[in-house]
């Protein structure tokens, strides 16, 4: 078994990468002086993976929306003690989350690390689904889905995604719908589990108060070698065009909430680190709190401090998003587009570029304080085939020409859509 040490002198940080014989990639990042440890066990499987087959199988399996998230909830259960009851005995705080393309199980603890890692590795490798337990969960997840229906920032985003994407499953709710989860049964859960919870499709990251040898010892003991298999995911072809330019809904809000998105179409399903950093710098320059646009929108009473932007991307989808609250979302969208046109015509200048780069570079260094962020980034970069320290090199080598070149390929008005939540009449 090979243990590779990856170091960055400038940051004074290091981590270990282990290709475990079981098929699992393991990352261990010891942080001197820390008292707690954070561990994340993840699979490259999320809400968008709804049609798939293991290479060699004859037929594709189509599963109900929300099943990855449902599976995440159910994996905590077992024939005797469920995972939460086991963690209760150690004092760790445990959780899990499902995103568009990942499902991760995690714990953080300041003591009894070995026991906690044993619980994590054991329960994620031990599915136990029955008809009764599946039915019980439908009620709980039904309430989770309803809870999000009352969260305007969530609704406005998914309305936007549905306005931008014709076929890509990023537009469906991560938890599915009350109807779709009613179709989930134990057999389907096992099918998804066998397909995606293969250690070759997974990664484990541990950061904080930890020693690489203790992780390897537990992994050797508890990991069950997975057979090599290749999963083929099927996504319907997504056209470059958006579905509709404008979409609105009414909810009990005080001020209208908006999301403006610019859909991107690329030849490859995933964005490189450099492309993501270019996108972040462009958004910072156009709409960050040092920008001309931000000041103008605040001064003209068009937005408040909730105004922000983000690069939203994953397997097969990418979009730049602007969001906030405004009494006049259409006017805000107009001003954003005007400013984008300005930069496209005049280019981004050296000074703005340096300022944004310095800011994001500093923020990246700050993130190395945070073991939760680090473990999460290790998993993400493994699924993206990148390394944790690659950011620094990208930041160093980036030029203003790279930024202007990237800008010319993105933020195309033709592929933009606006989603608004307006207050219901009585408010």
């Amino acid at each position: 078994m090979q243990i590779e040490k990856i170091e960055n002198k400038q940051l004074n940080e290091k981590y270990y990468k282990i290709n475990h014989p079981s098929g699992l990639k393991i990352f261990v990042m010891p942080k001197e002086g820390y008292s707690s440890t954070y561990a994340l066990f993840g699979t490259k499987y999320g809400s968008i993976d709804n049609c798939f087959r293991i290479v060699g199988e004859e037929e594709y399996t189509q599963v109900p929306e929300g099943i990855a998230h449902f599976l995440e909830h159910k994996l905590f259960e077992s024939e005797d003690l469920d995972a939460f009851e086991r963690y209760a005995k150690t004092g760790a705080s445990a959780n899990a989350f499902t995103s568009f393309d990942r499902t991760c199980y995690l714990f953080s603890c300041s003591g009894k690390f070995k026991e906690n890692l044993e619980i994590l590795l054991d329960f994620v490798q031990s599915p136990y689904f029955t008809k009764q337990t599946v039915e019980k969960e439908q009620g709980i997840i039904g309430q989770e889905i309803r809870m999000y229906k009352d969260v305007p920032s969530w609704e406005v985003l998914f309305n936007l995604l549905r306005a931008m994407y014709h076929n890509h499953p990023v537009a469906i709710d991560i938890a599915g719908t009350e109807e779709s989860i009613a179709q989930i049964d134990d057999k389907l859960l096992y099918k998804c589990y066998e397909t995606f919870y293969n250690l070759n499709n997974m990664a484990l990251a541990v950061a904080g108060n930890v020693d690489v040898d203790e992780v390897v010892e537990i992994a050797d003991r508890l990991l069950k070698t997975s057979k090599k298999q290749e999963v083929e995911r099927v996504f319907k072809e997504e056209p470059a065009a958006i579905v509709e330019r404008y979409v609105e809904e009414k909810l009990s809000v005080a001020t209208p909430v908006f999301n403006l998105g610019f859909k991107e179409t690329w030849n490859t399903p995933e964005r490189t680190l450099k492309e993501e950093i270019c996108a972040d710098i462009i958004l910072e320059i156009i709409a960050g709190n040092t920008s001309f646009l931000y000041k103008k929108l605040i001064d003209e009473n068009l937005v408040n401090t909730s105004f922000s932007s983000e690069y939203f991307t994953g397997t097969g989808f990418a979009a730049m998003l602007f969001s906030g609250e405004s009494s006049d979302p259409e006017a805000v969208a107009g001003k954003i587009k005007e400013r984008i046109r300005y930069y496209k015509e005049n280019g981004i200048g050296q000074e703005d570029f340096e300022c944004a780069r310095k800011k994001l570079y500093g923020r990246m260094i700050m993130s190395f304080n945070d073991i939760e962020f680090l473990a999460d980034s290790l998993i993400k970069s493994e699924f993206m085939q990148e390394g944790l320290f690659d950011d620094i090199e990208v930041f160093k080598n980036l030029t203003v020409d790279d930024i202007n070149n990237h800008l010319s390929k993105v933020l195309d008005e033709e592929y933009s859509a606006l989603s608004v939540i307006y207050p219901t009449e009585e408010e």
């Binding site: 445990a94 997840i141 809870m147 005080a254």
Partner: protein, 430 residues
């Protein structure tokens, strides 16, 4: 904590230096506390106004540019409520100088900027400008409005307001919307002077730059400020509910939001604090708690159902999101779990699990600068010159709590207010 050094740069000001070398940043936070009684709205405006500009950087964009040049230093300000005190907090986080690309003194400059914001604001003829104040009033009012849009937060706020309607605690952290709208630049200027003269102040410095020389820099800032008439902060504790209130309200929501407010039986923030903390955790803390195991897992009534102990006011707040047709069922189930606590129907394991969980998470706090900062912030305003309590000391006391103490604590708890936010259409659908 062994590496906590405390100085008194001025009357009613404590400077806490916490030299840590495990982080890549340094954090300076300034916490100013005053009673939640007068000029609450002015100080809420001040929190964002002072963050927006100062004498040297006289508009928002200039300050933000400066921060970007300081390698993305994070400057934030906020308003919070702890017991019946309003806290106005300013903080800055800077990366350590060793990461600068051309030998800049990032932390020193960051600290100076933070102090300038508070002590050297942008004044024209001795007052804030009307224009700046008006902008901040609008932004603050919109912040209040956006809390209306987040129904879980809104419901919790409404329940506290109903429960404490005859106490100062009913005041929201930003105060009243209408009063904010009526403020003038002179009102805000007056409140600024009052705040730097009379508030109880704690300054935390966390990181590798927490050297003793900082004390001088801070002393200088207070040199010409008259701090002889400090405010007094105290919180009214209502030991038990006189009767149970039920309040419901209708809005167009898809899911009902249930909040139950309890009186914890305390006469002050130290009264039986540890036992009540453990009791609340067994009852409605983590996924091992009675509320989670029964109301969610056994009965499938909700996705979340938990209880939170608000030590600074001696209350416990239970929150859950449910179908409104299940309201009675859920309330009954929650009452049953509380009765079980009072009757001692919990196991030795339940007690041990809670203690372990509290201990584990408190002992992790010092792995983030924010964790350390929020743990110590406000302790001075709370305890005056008494000793600061470290997470380790707190945990020691938590570990001493017995089953009998937990049961006794539960017996002192009483339901004060049940609040339910309902849908205004029949089935919860529009």
């Amino acid at each position: 904590m062994d590496n906590l050094k405390i100085f008194s740069p001025s009357n009613g000001v404590k400077l806490c230096l916490m030299p840590y070398d495990i982080f890549k940043t340094s954090v300076v936070s300034i916490n100013m506390a005053m009673p939640l009684e007068t000029r609450v709205e002015e100080r809420a405006v001040l929190a964002s106004l002072l963050r927006r500009c100062c004498a040297e950087y006289d508009d928002m964009t200039k300050i933000n540019r400066k921060l970007a040049e300081l390698y993305g230093a994070v400057l934030s300000s906020g308003v919070s409520k702890k017991g019946e005190a309003q806290f106005v907090t300013f903080s800055i986080t800077c990366v350590d100088d060793k990461f600068s690309l051309s030998d800049e003194k990032i932390s020193e400059e960051g600290m100076k900027l933070l102090l300038d914001l508070i002590f050297n604001p942008k004044l024209v003829n001795g007052t804030f400008t009307k224009e700046d104040v008006e902008t901040q009033k609008r932004l603050l009012v919109e912040k209040i409005d956006s809390e209306f849009s987040e129904k879980r937060i809104y419901a919790l706020g409404r329940a506290e307001e109903e429960m404490c309607k005859n106490e100062l605690y009913a005041t929201k952290r930003y105060g009243k919307r209408e009063r904010i709208l009526s403020l003038t630049a002179e009102d805000v200027t007056k409140a600024w002077k009052e705040m730097i003269e009379k508030s109880i102040i704690q300054i935390n410095v966390i990181g590798s730059n927490a050297g003793d020389n900082i004390c001088k820099e801070i002393e200088k800032r207070f040199e010409n400020i008259d701090r002889n008439n400090l405010c007094e902060i105290k919180t009214e504790f209502v030991v038990s509910a006189s009767e149970e209130n039920y309040v419901s309200q209708k809005q167009s929501v898809k899911q009902g939001k249930l909040v139950i407010g309890l009186r914890a039986g305390m006469t002050d923030k130290d009264d039986n604090n540890y036992a009540i903390h453990v009791m609340t955790d067994i009852f409605g803390g983590g996924p091992y708690s009675k509320l989670f195991m029964n109301v969610r897992e056994k009965m499938s009534l909700c996705y979340y159902c938990s209880a939170r102990f608000v030590r600074s006011k001696g209350i416990i707040m239970i929150q859950s999101g449910i179908e409104q047709e299940n309201e009675e069922k859920a309330i009954k189930a929650i009452r049953q779990q509380l009765e079980d606590m009072k009757n001692g129907n919990f196991t030795k394991d339940d007690l041990e699990n809670s203690i372990k969980s509290i201990a584990d998470s408190y002992l992790s706090l010092k792995d983030t600068p924010d964790g350390i900062d929020s743990w110590y912030s406000g302790q001075y305003c709370d305890c005056g010159d008494e000793k600061f309590v470290s997470p380790e000391e707190y945990v020691e006391n938590i570990r001493k709590v017995t089953s009998q103490q937990v049961q006794a604590a539960a017996q002192c708890v009483s339901i004060d207010t049940i609040y339910m936010l309902k849908s205004n259409s029949e089935e919860g659908e529009e």
